[in-house]
Symmetry: C2
Subunit: 298 residues, 2 copies
């Protein structure tokens, strides 16, 4: 069993750190809002620290699951950052969804002081984190990946090394692009069917047997039809992810004509106060009927 | 075993009529281009007729699988149309993808002379037709549906009555809307990953385990990555289907902001001579690498 640091106890990080604690590891947690540490310590064994540096001191592996590039820099760099507390030979695993630029930058900085950095964004959402069945897309060096793999097994169902630093984040971006397009197609399809007065339960039953099938159709069509958007991964987070995606594409030259439009739709949902709706709420922009679920109902 | 008429021996209708013949039915075929009837008769038992009317005379069930609304009207109405040959109590099953308007119109006309009309578009593509595993979405009256069900079992895996006349076509439209959005998302995602230099085989392996999974990802990502678009269901056909979809939405008021854009993309592929590429060729508009497969290679 190892000494671990875990930074960021949100709806994802909280249960992930919990799985590590229940797996018998010695976990020290840090969270910007201190009350979340108390709540976590009420549920799991472990200890807390006042800074990322203190949470990381003496740890063999340090994990983070925070908001964006700036949040990640804030918890790793500077005098109270994790990198100051970490010893050579230790491994930093970042589960946040960030740009590949910050991931490569931190991998480089880490290398100079003998710290391995892995960008390791996840998919599977809040329920995947709680059930410990996340999918992890890793960028970094193979040796570090092999060392951390048995540890994060506590909350992963699938875990793959994609390539050098940054490739974990880039893979997550591919994932979000695919999800955005398919959710919009699903939203337009379901709304069209509702407008035409079809029995949508039957429609989904029959078309999910063929070429229109998707995980989103299997898991979200029923709630989209009745206008319920309480599945955790929120519009605000998707908007952040798509911002990174579009920014990255602006630099590498990849065309994203429809993803760019869907990003605008998520922006429209934000302006309507649907920030906490889940990502399938794109249908609420199309259908008055599907927009009856209020943002407060989540 | 029944006496059947089958109108339209294209890549879908040919094998479907073949399954009926092999199922022991007495099948009379009609096709506008006569040479296709000869080819069909070389492969299957049955007979041919010079007009839809003659192919339908004395048949208990008449099937069609033709191009568009006009084609369907041409084979059903007028002095040489199937409706003239059919007797009261017989059932007409149209497997074409058409508007719901023509379906309701023919159901009404049929009713006046005691002919049951079912709109019964299929999904599953050419390979589904060949293997006899199509999905059929039916609109029409339950009694007629139940009568025809055991017959079309010869080439269906799933078959559902969606509601009154026209609802089969409307369900197919929902299907095509969903497919369009998810194919464009998949195209943008894969192209982004290729541009970023990712190992796309690994990327698909990991993201297909989660929220981005789709039938299209499972069955088309690999060929899209290498720029092969030889899977049968062609850009020209998708363009026709989306034309019906957008026309229907113009009347019922359903918003299709992204579907409308994707229809334009398919139009762009047509102008580039990619008419016979399969529908996953949307990626060819994004990626020079993926557009290396020529239209002639299909």
């Amino acid at each position: 069993m190892s000494k671990l640091g875990f930074i960021g106890l949100g709806v994802m990080g909280g249960p992930m750190a919990g799985h590590l604690s229940r797996g018998g590891h010695d976990v020290t947690v840090y969270n910007r809002t201190a009350s979340k540490m108390d709540a976590w310590l009420n549920e799991y064994e472990g200890s807390s620290a006042c800074t990322p540096r203190l949470a990381s001191t003496g740890a063999e592996f340090v994990f983070s699951c925070v908001g964006n590039d700036d949040d990640l820099r804030a918890v790793t760099l500077g005098p109270d950052g994790a990198f100051v507390g970490m010893a050579p030979g230790s491994v930093y695993v970042d589960h946040s969804t960030t740009s590949d630029i910050v991931a490569r930058h931190l991998a480089e900085l880490g290398l100079r002081q003998g710290i391995e950095f892995l960008d390791a964004p996840v998919s599977g959402g809040q329920s995947g984190a709680e059930k410990g069945v996340l999918t992890v897309m890793c960028g970094g060096r193979e040796q570090a990946f092999e060392r951390v793999r048995p540890v994060i097994d506590a909350y992963t169902r699938a875990c793959m090394l994609m390539g050098p630093p940054g490739t974990g984040q880039l893979t997550k971006m591919v994932n979000q692009i695919c999800v955005a397009g398919l959710l919009q197609g699903l939203a337009e399809g379901l709304n069209f069917g509702l407008t035409a007065g079809l029995d949508m339960e039957k429609v989904v039953a029959v078309i999910s047997k063929g070429a229109a099938q998707s995980w989103q159709m299997d898991n979200r069509a029923a709630s989209m039809i009745v206008g319920e958007f309480n599945f955790g991964f929120a519009v605000d987070w998707m908007r952040k992810d798509l911002g990174i995606v579009l920014d990255t594409a602006r630099h590498n030259g990849a065309q994203l004509p429809v993803t760019a439009v869907i990003d605008q739709f998520y922006g429209q949902l934000q302006r309507q106060g649907a920030n906490h709706f889940d990502t399938s709420s794109l249908i609420a922009l199309l259908s008055p009927r599907a927009s009856t679920g209020s943002p407060d109902s989540h």
